[in-house]
Symmetry: C2
Subunit: 482 residues, 2 copies
C-alpha cells in the first residue's frame, strides 16, 4: 500500500532513530497481546518518547486515514491493542520516565510507559519513600505499564482491599485523536474536584478515547505486617462458602485467592509447597494490619475454614513464605505452560454469593466440551478466571474453547455478573456487549466515545462495536457482530 | 405564558393528585437551594412517584421546550437545582422507597429520593444489618437525598477515610432528556465491570445528564469503636501543620475537622463544651478501629499535637460525647445563624500541605473586604469551608462577600486546588470553570454533556456554560459568562 509506505516515512521523521518498526520479523511480536487467538499484523509500530511526538504521530496517522492503536506492554488478555486493517500501533513503552514523586501530597507523576513495579520500586528508593507504593498489583506488574493499567482499569491480587486502578489515578494527560492534548483531573493530591470525572471515565476506556501520555497517581501506605492462611477444602463449594462467610463476618482480608484441585497440582508440581493431592480447592488468604492482632484474625479465619471442612490449614507470618506463595500465585498462568500446549484465560465477575454455583457450571460446561478447565481466581471479589487448556494446532479444540468460554460468560451475565473483572473487553468480548447491555446503554457508550473521537480514528472496533472497523479474527467463530 | 399553563395541565394529568405545585406561595420555597443568592421562580414543581411518571413528565416538559431542572431535597449550596427562565423542577422527594437491602452482597437498591440517613437507619433495622451502613455522611444527611448525594458527588465528615459518593454508587437508573431509561453499572455487588464507567461519570454531573431515579449503593461496615481527640492550638498554622504531620505519619483517622477561633466561640456559645476562649484553632480528630489499639493511636495523635503547641487536649471514648461533638460539628452552619443575619458557605480544595497558607490568605482577604469569615472544614482532605458573615439587606455586603469569595477561589486554583470539594459548581461557580480548566477541557465537558443531552434540555447553564440558557442571578456580579 503506497499510502502506508509514505506514512511510514513520515512517522520515521517524527520520532528518534529506531522509533518505527515496519519489517515483518519485528512486527510479528506485535500481532497479538495475551489473547493470542486474535492476531493481525500492524502496518507499523511507532515509539514516541515525548507527548509532542505523540501529537505529531497521531496527526500523521489520522491524516492518512489509518487507525491509531495505542499499546503499552501488550500484556492485555482481550486483544485490545491488536491493530486490524493495517492500523498503526503507537507504543508508549519508551515514555518511561518518573517525573516526580511528591511524598507530602502522596502523588507520583509518571509517563504512561512506566512499568507498574518500576514506580513502586522508585518510590521505595527515595528518602522516606519506603512506606508508600502504587497499590494496583496485576499479576503482570513486572511488565505492564501504568498507562495500560489505567486503560484497562486493572485490578490485581489485592483488589479486594485496594480496589482498581481508577481509584488510584488522580489525573491524566491524553492525546486526543485530533492531536489536542487533554489534561484532566487532580495533579497534586487534590483528590476531589467539581466537574465530570473524566479521569474515571478514561480509566477502562481501553484506548478508545485517545493515548494516555502521563498520569498523576496516588501513593498509599504499603502494608508491612502479614499473616498468610492457606486452607485446603474437600470441594469448591465448601471453599466458596468459606470465602463468603469470612467477608460476611465483617473481615476485609487484603486478598482471598482460590485455586481448584487441578490448579493446586500445577502449582505443587512447579513449587513443591506440600499441598495434599486430595485437595479439591485451596484458599490463600492474606491478612495485614497491626502486628499484635494478626494472630487473632488468622484464628478467626481458621475457625471459619474449619466450619467448612477445611484441612491442612497453615498460618504463617514468614515474609519468605509469603513472597513464595504470591510468586506462585502470580506465575500460575505461566506454570500452565508445562501441562498444555495452549491455554486461554477467561475473566468474568459474579456476585460473591454465586461463586459456588458458577464453579459447578464451569465444571459441567468443561465436561460437555471435553475440555480441561483450571480455576485460579480472586474469590474475595467474585472475579473468576477459568483457564481453558487446549491445543491451538487442533481446530476443534480451539472451537470448543471458544464455545465453552462463551457459555460461561453468558451464564455469568445471566446471574447478574459481567464479562470482565479486570482484563477488558477488547475484541474478544465485544460481541457479548449487546447481550450484557441494552440498546440504549450501547448507544450511550457510542455517544460517549464520539465525544472524544467523533470520527472513530482510534482503536475503533474495540470495546464497543464500530461501523467503521469490523474485525474478523484469524480464527473464526469469535468476531464482532457483522 | 399560555404554553406553561397548558404544560401544567398536562403535568397534572401525569402524576398523582397534589403532585404539581404552580401557585406562587408554594413555589417560593423552590426559588433557591442553600445558595440563597441565586434565586429564580420555577414555572412549576412536579413530584412524580415512579420512573414511568418521570419519563412522561420529562417528555412533556421537553416537548414544551421548557428546561427540565432535577431536584432532591434542595440542600445543595451552589444553586444547582434552581429553575431559571421558567424551567420546571422535577423533584424526586416522593420517590423514597427502599427497594431492597441485600446484606450478603452488601448492596442496597433505593429510589433516588430516599434520604441519606433513612437508608442507614433502615439497614440497621433489618436482622443482621446493624454492622452496615451507607458511608457518605454530608452534614445535610438528615435531609439530603441519595440521588442528590450522587449528583453532587457528596462527601462528608468521614470523606478522609470513606471517600465520596461515587465510591459508593454501584449502579444507577437515569431518565435521559429524551425520556429513555438508562440503567447502568453493577446492581448486585458485582463491583467491577468492563465498559466506560457511566455511574462514575454521572456522579457529580449535577443533573446535567438526566434525572437519577434509582440507585444501587454499597453497604460498608460501620465503625463501632472510637476515640475522639480534641486539641486547641495557638494559631491556625500550628493546627494545619499538625494535620499534615498526622497524615504524614501514616495514620488515617476517620475524620480530621478544623475550626478557627471565631467558629470555636460560635460552637461554645451554642453547646458549652468548655473550649477555652484563647484557642485560635481546634482540631477534632476521630480514630476508629480495634478497641485495644485506640488508646495508643490517640496517644500518637496527642504527641503530634503537642509538638505543634497544642493545649487543652481531651481524648474520649464516650459515645455520648462523640455524638454531641459530631452534632455540634454538623450543626455548626446553623449555629452561625445566631450571630449573623446572612451567611454564605464557600467550598474549595487545596493540597493538604498548603492549608496554612490558604487560611492566612482568607484572613487577609477578609480584612481587605471588612468581612468576618469563619472557618470550619475538613482539614484531613484539604477541603476548606470559609463562611462569610454578612447582611443580605445591605447590597455592599453582598457584593463584598461575592468579591471576597471570588478571590479566595482564584487563590485556591492558583495553588493547584479546585473550586469545590463536595458542594458542586451549580450556577455559583460556573464562571470560574474557564479559569480552572483550559479551552480544550471545557470543550470536552460540553461534548460529554451532549452525549447525554444533545439539545441541552436538562439543567442547561449549570456546571458548564451553555449558549442555550444564560443565567442572570437576581443579585448582580455573580453570573455565567455572557
Amino acid at each position: 500500500m503506497p499510502a502506508t509506505a509514505s506514512l511510514i516515512d513520515r512517522l520515521t521523521s517524527l520520532v528518534p532513530a529506531g522509533g518505527v518498526l515496519a519489517d515483518p520479523a519485528s512486527l510479528f511480536v506485535y500481532e497479538a497481546d495475551g489473547f493470542t487467538i486474535a492476531r493481525a499484523r500492524p502496518a507499523a509500530v511507532v515509539f514516541p518518547t515525548t507527548t509532542a511526538q505523540v501529537v505529531a504521530v497521531v496527526k500523521a496517522i489520522g491524516e492518512a486515514g489509518v487507525q491509531i492503536v495505542p499499546r503499552g506492554s501488550g500484556t492485555g488478555l482481550a486483544g485490545g491493542c491488536v491493530a486490524f486493517e493495517n492500523g498503526v500501533i503507537v507504543s508508549t513503552t519508551r515514555m518511561n520516565r518518573i517525573l516526580a514523586i511528591d511524598l507530602p501530597n502522596r502523588v507520583a507523576h509518571v509517563e504512561a510507559g512506566v512499568r507498574n513495579i518500576q514506580l513502586s520500586d522508585a518510590v521505595a528508593a527515595v528518602p522516606g519513600g519506603a512506606p508508600w507504593h502504587f497499590a494496583p498489583d496485576p499479576s503482570s506488574q513486572r511488565a505492564s505499564t501504568i498507562g495500560g493499567n489505567a486503560s484497562t482499569n486493572a485490578g490485581g491480587i489485592h483488589t479486594l482491599k485496594d480496589f482498581v486502578s481508577s481509584n488510584h489515578v488522580l489525573g491524566l494527560e491524553m492525546v486526543l485523536p485530533s492531536g489536542e492534548v487533554l489534561i484532566t483531573g487532580g495533579q497534586n493530591g487534590c483528590y476531589e474536584s467539581g466537574h465530570f470525572d473524566l479521569p474515571g471515565l478514561i480509566c477502562g476506556s481501553e484506548g478508545t478515547f485517545g493515548i494516555i501520555t502521563k498520569l498523576w497517581v496516588r501513593l498509599v501506605p504499603r502494608a508491612t505486617n502479614f499473616r498468610t492462611v492457606v486452607g485446603m477444602f474437600p470441594s469448591t463449594a465448601d471453599a466458596c462458602e468459606a470465602v463468603s462467610d469470612v467477608i460476611a463476618a465483617g473481615m476485609l482480608p487484603a486478598a482471598m485467592e482460590m485455586m481448584d484441585g487441578r490448579m493446586i497440582q500445577v502449582i505443587e508440581d512447579a513449587y513443591h509447597f506440600g499441598f495434599p493431592p486430595e485437595a479439591a480447592a485451596l484458599i490463600l488468604t492474606e491478612i495485614d494490619g497491626i502486628p499484635d492482632l494478626l494472630d487473632a484474625q488468622a484464628a478467626d479465619v481458621t475457625a471459619i475454614f474449619n466450619r467448612h471442612h477445611a484441612f491442612g490449614i497453615q498460618t504463617s507470618g514468614d515474609p519468605a513464605r509469603r513472597a513464595m506463595l504470591w510468586k506462585a500465585r502470580k506465575q500460575a498462568f505461566g506454570a500452565i505452560g508445562k501441562i498444555s500446549h495452549s491455554y486461554c484465560t477467561q475473566d468474568a465477575c459474579v456476585p460473591r454469593s454465586m461463586l459456588a454455583q458458577v464453579l459447578r457450571k464451569i465444571d459441567e460446561i468443561g465436561r460437555e466440551y471435553g475440555l480441561n478447565i483450571n480455576n485460579v481466581f480472586h474469590a474475595g471479589d467474585g472475579n473468576i478466571h477459568p483457564i481453558f487448556l487446549y491445543d491451538d494446532r487442533i481446530e476443534a479444540e480451539v472451537q470448543n474453547t471458544l464455545a465453552a468460554a462463551e457459555k460461561i460468560l453468558q451464564y455469568c451475565i445471566d446471574l447478574g455478573g459481567t464479562v470482565t473483572g479486570e482484563h477488558g473487553v477488547g475484541v474478544e468480548k465485544i460481541h457479548l456487549m449487546p447481550y450484557l447491555f441494552d440498546e440504549l446503554t450501547m448507544a450511550q457508550f457510542v455517544a460517549v466515545k464520539h465525544a472524544f473521537d467523533p470520527e472513530e480514528r482510534i482503536n475503533a472496533g474495540k470495546l464497543i462495536p464500530s461501523d467503521k472497523v469490523k474485525i474478523t479474527l484469524l480464527k473464526p467463530g469469535r468476531q464482532a457482530p457483522q
